[in-house]
Symmetry: D2
Subunit: 391 residues, 4 copies
């Protein structure tokens, strides 16, 4: 390894912890051109940030993200904050010549995302790279699905069936968190988890969503403003004040893809019993694949070219040395976990830093997801009428 890459991580909650784990772990399993060092952890509350830094093994902290941008020794700004802060941080970092890795969704509106993508395009001319944290692309099984599409194994794609089902809001008294506030989060299930489905569907198929017909719904319109968090949900204080939920609880839409496929998407946090069922099934004229993150080390694959009597969905344990990412880890059958996806993401980012073509998805590609989200919202407001994605 030549010179180190110095990173500032902004945010130290769920995503911040995942990213820090990744920066620390990636060089131990992957052969990387540059050695990463997390030099700075930024959080608004000094005491909590200091505690997090100590726990997560970062020496320096700051309470203002501008410190990350102005410091000359920082090479990469890694944004793990809610969506309403992405644009301002990212654009400042790019202006300062920092590479930026930004959590998804890229922004809370197409306007912001366009501005970010424009800034990224300018920065790219100076060799500065942008990345967006669609981490599920780093799942070996989904990366294998994409490889199968590229190899022509699915033939002409006809159906895309994407569900992202969670249940942490099923309890009508779970507390009102920032994820339920439109100002901070942009949207609800749609942007938080539906965005993952949109990105995965477009990426795996290699097709764009042309238009959508959508329905958004909020089942529980007010929730306790305080309570004890547990995971993403928790138990609200039912004796106290309730505040309005200003985002969607569930999103459902049909879609048409640029290559002729028909899509059906659903994102919800009310699918009781489905903890994190991020599912994607694609049916083509020659083959099909199906994935469910609750069994993240497996990909279902149907090969229509198999002899008729042996046709069936194969359950591939995507842990073999020939599968994406997995040769860096354990022997076959010894699966990976959620946290490992972030290691892959960071390894891809570090590998791309000195590459002219950069890594995917950059801000430009992630803007596209934002445009689909926007079409979904516009369709939902227009009686579900079919609405083209504006590009």
């Amino acid at each position: 390894m030549s010179q180190p890459v110095r990173i500032a991580v902004i945010g130290h909650a769920f995503m911040g912890a995942a990213h820090l784990h990744a920066w620390r772990t990636a060089p131990r399993f992957f052969d990387l051109p540059r050695r990463p060092e997390v030099a700075l952890l930024v959080g608004r509350d000094e005491a909590r940030t200091r505690a997090a830094a100590e726990k997560l093994g970062v020496e320096e902290i700051a309470t203002d993200w501008r410190d990350a941008v102005t410091r000359e020794d920082i090479d990469v700004v890694d944004i793990c904050t809610p969506g309403d802060t992405h644009a301002v941080i990212a654009e400042a970092a790019l202006a300062a010549g920092k590479h930026v890795l930004c959590e998804k969704p890229l922004a809370n509106s197409v306007q912001e995302a366009e501005s970010m993508a424009a800034a990224a395009a300018q920065a790219a001319e100076r060799g500065v790279h942008t990345f967006c944290g669609f981490s599920y692309r780093r799942t070996p099984a989904l990366a294998l699905a994409r490889r199968f599409v590229e190899e022509g194994r699915l033939g002409e794609i006809r159906h895309v069936r994407a569900q992202y089902l969670q249940d942490w809001l099923s309890d009508a008294d779970a507390p009102l968190t920032w994820r339920l506030d439109k100002e901070t989060a942009g949207s609800g299930a749609l942007g938080d988890i539906g965005a993952h489905s949109i990105d995965a569907a477009q990426w795996v198929t290699g097709q764009q969503i042309d238009g959508v017909s959508a329905l958004l719904h909020t089942f529980v319109t007010s929730r306790p403003v305080s309570g004890s968090a547990e995971g993403l949900g928790g138990a609200g204080d039912v004796t106290g004040e309730r505040g309005p939920v200003t985002v969607d609880d569930a999103a459902a839409f049909t879609a048409r893809f640029s290559g002729g496929a028909v899509g059906v998407f659903e994102a919800t946090r009310f699918a009781l019993g489905r903890r994190n069922a991020n599912r994607l099934e694609i049916n083509g004229s020659r083959g099909s694949v199906a994935f469910d993150f609750e069994r993240m080390n497996q990909l279902e694959y149907f090969d229509g070219d198999d002899p008729q009597q042996t046709q069936g969905f194969r359950t591939i344990q995507v842990t073999d040395a020939v599968h994406p990412y997995t040769d860096h880890w354990w022997p076959v059958g010894h699966g990976l976990g959620y946290g490992d996806l972030f290691v892959h993401q960071v390894a891809d980012v570090l590998t791309a830093l000195d590459a002219p073509e950069g890594a995917r998805p950059d801000f430009g590609e992630s803007l596209d997801v934002q445009r689909v989200l926007d079409a979904v919202e516009r369709s939902a407001e227009d009686s579900s009428r079919y609405t083209s994605v504006t590009r």
Copy 2:
């Protein structure tokens, strides 16, 4: 058993064979008030009908369905023909005082279905019953799901997720059969299999679909007019003439239910590898159920009232003596097959014949499915705009 019930079966293809098997088998496993006898088999081609009758064990045949209606000794007319003939046969039979069991979908249009339902209502006043062959209601697992809803085990229902996935048209050179002709079949995947999903979803939840936003699509617009059939599909004669496919290959729609649930429906014959995946998942505030006909003897059930550390979807083997229908068959764990659903249907019909309230679904209830199908088609023609079901 008092007097026998004499039945005329119209049609002897896939459905006719299933019904005949059922009439013959039901009295051997169920205690029925009346003993069924299939007295007449009707088909248009005399030789083929005679061969079928011999194979299926029916003594008399006719080539005109009117014979079934005019004969005094016939009590039940069982209609197993394509949808374009349902109305005329059923109405004639009802006028002649015959009970009628009619395959689904009830008709090829709302207009026909309304006429049939009106005739059924009149006949009902004279103690003549009508039934529609939504046979999946007779699946023990789905009947158990409905029981769970009735027992309040699911709480407030939020999500309905229905897919009916087949793949027998994946091959673009499969032959053009009557199921691909709008005049005969009414619609494609929508009416043939989507109708089952609509009926099951409304029946299990006890809610009506208020409105839909729909997309219909035909992937393969022309097919060989001749070829060798195999199952529902087969191999077309690619050197010969091709004719137009005039129905949908796939249907997808979102829906709003009368009780506030959000629905997502998909029906297709192009989901390569999914042979007959008739799936229904329902998520409520207290519990969830999930079903897939490819494992028809199982119901997945999630009980939100379980202690947190033991929560999970249960795989219930719906073969226990306490489950619907199954006490009439084998010991627990010795599952049933597709053909047995028709035995249940016939047992329900025979039990209902002398009951004032009749059996479900009657023509009136089945008209409702037709109205949803109609709303789906209207929405699809109107840029997927949200379209209320007209009742």
Copy 3:
């Protein structure tokens, strides 16, 4: 069809009902050389037999099995009684020139089975056939597994893993039925369900079991002598008398096969939650198959010749026209049930009646299962010492 085949069924409980269903149904779905007619139903209790006959659609009854043997118009004697009566009935029937279909296990001891096999061999010379009811051979998925072995798809077979898990005796107060009495049943889980595993394992692999090392165990040594039956189990009268359980509750043994494979077998009625998990997995040098009767329409198949990145167990829906038996039934994906296996069995029997080579398994082949059962019992009595099967 030329002349009919007239059958006398001895026994009208679980197995009797299954056989009667099969005789009635087979000619409706299969093209058979002879038309079956059940002419006589035999049971010891006249009233109950008469009720059963009426329900099951048989006109004549008898209370002495000898009537079935002496009547000239009977062609086939179908024995559905407990094991202690098999030998005497079968031998008398064969002596009278009747074909015999006998439920499994063939007998309660090797001695009886040898005598039956000898009688069968003599009868065979006169064109009289014998069959044993190892009905699971008629499962399309297991028949497909055997076909795969014959086609060389598994290569050299190394592992056989057979489990037959039920749980209807888990309740220590379930009543003492004839299946728990050594005199009547011969053995417990071993002969009742383990026999199925032994037969299936030898049949699918085409190899014989050379020797075994076995353990038999009775968990609950006494049970209420009376109670209400439900399925195979039920609720015993805990206030009344208890009697001794004289058979094994569970059997476990390792085995060596003639072709070099290593086998592990387990049969139990105490695997709480496993209703009827009749499982068989075979691993070879080129491929593997796995089956579980709780999903009887599926076969798992692993093809070691697949490219490495796409290797995985395929879930074959064994309902395709190219699969064993299934072309006689419904379209692909519309699965079969337990009762349909008996239809296949009867179809095979009827087809074999006029064939010189007869059907499999005949008494001779079924004697072999008895010899393995005997070796298991001898090993268990000899401190699990490896015990060769005496042939």
Copy 4:
């Protein structure tokens, strides 16, 4: 955290890498009383060890394990070498007052293991702790299974069904590695993976194995001495020399447990298609659990106290905050991977260092596994005769 704990890791192959990852990661997710630092990496080949140390982030290396023992600044010696070196290293380390974490199986013979356990007992009196790397105990799902047993949820345990199925030796030309050499590895599938099953079965049930009846088999008796490794297997040089395989390829045994349960065990590396199927099923009088490492984040649980109509195996996503270990990681449904087990192991070790009772399993408890392995080998050599475990 007070003072750091300084660790020397001996070995840097598969297990060494897993342990190093764990030492580095544990303090970032767990609140530990002591902060771990890996101070030394030991390997026999200097260049390869130096490369590994650089990759894995360890500053100092040594080529003689004695350096780890003699250095005063080392607190824990972590032994990740083949079994033939465990005893000598561990005993020297204990003599030097170092805590020892030793990979499984503890040793290659009972004699060695007894010596190690004796040394551990002496050391324990001086507050020096020993641990053995039965890492699967750290799987949240298996830890939950154990909790269920402790809570009485399974009732009286009747059946233990343990399989550890791999397939990396299915190819008869895979190369001869140290794992196939009795001198180095002690035994084959039995000690390598069967030991995990034995430990897990005894630990989860809380019962000891009293005796066994066993069969060991070697399918492929010679293999190429050189070749290219891939994962645990690889492609041997078929044109070169072949050497003898001196260990078992597969082990199968029945067992009796101290509490009356019957066990069936199987360990093999020839189960083609089963990549790492470490399975454990336990059936009790009140409940059952089933686990398969290929879906490591799930536990199947059957509760016999459920109402009859809702009974079924629950698939618990063992990723909830109330489950073992998982509250330290991600939100519910975001599963863990194989590498994370080692993080749990190290967290348990570090927590136990200052606790009088130490951690489990210590050498004494691990000796017990060795005694079972020994009984298995003795039984296999004695015609599978039932052989008591000598304690």
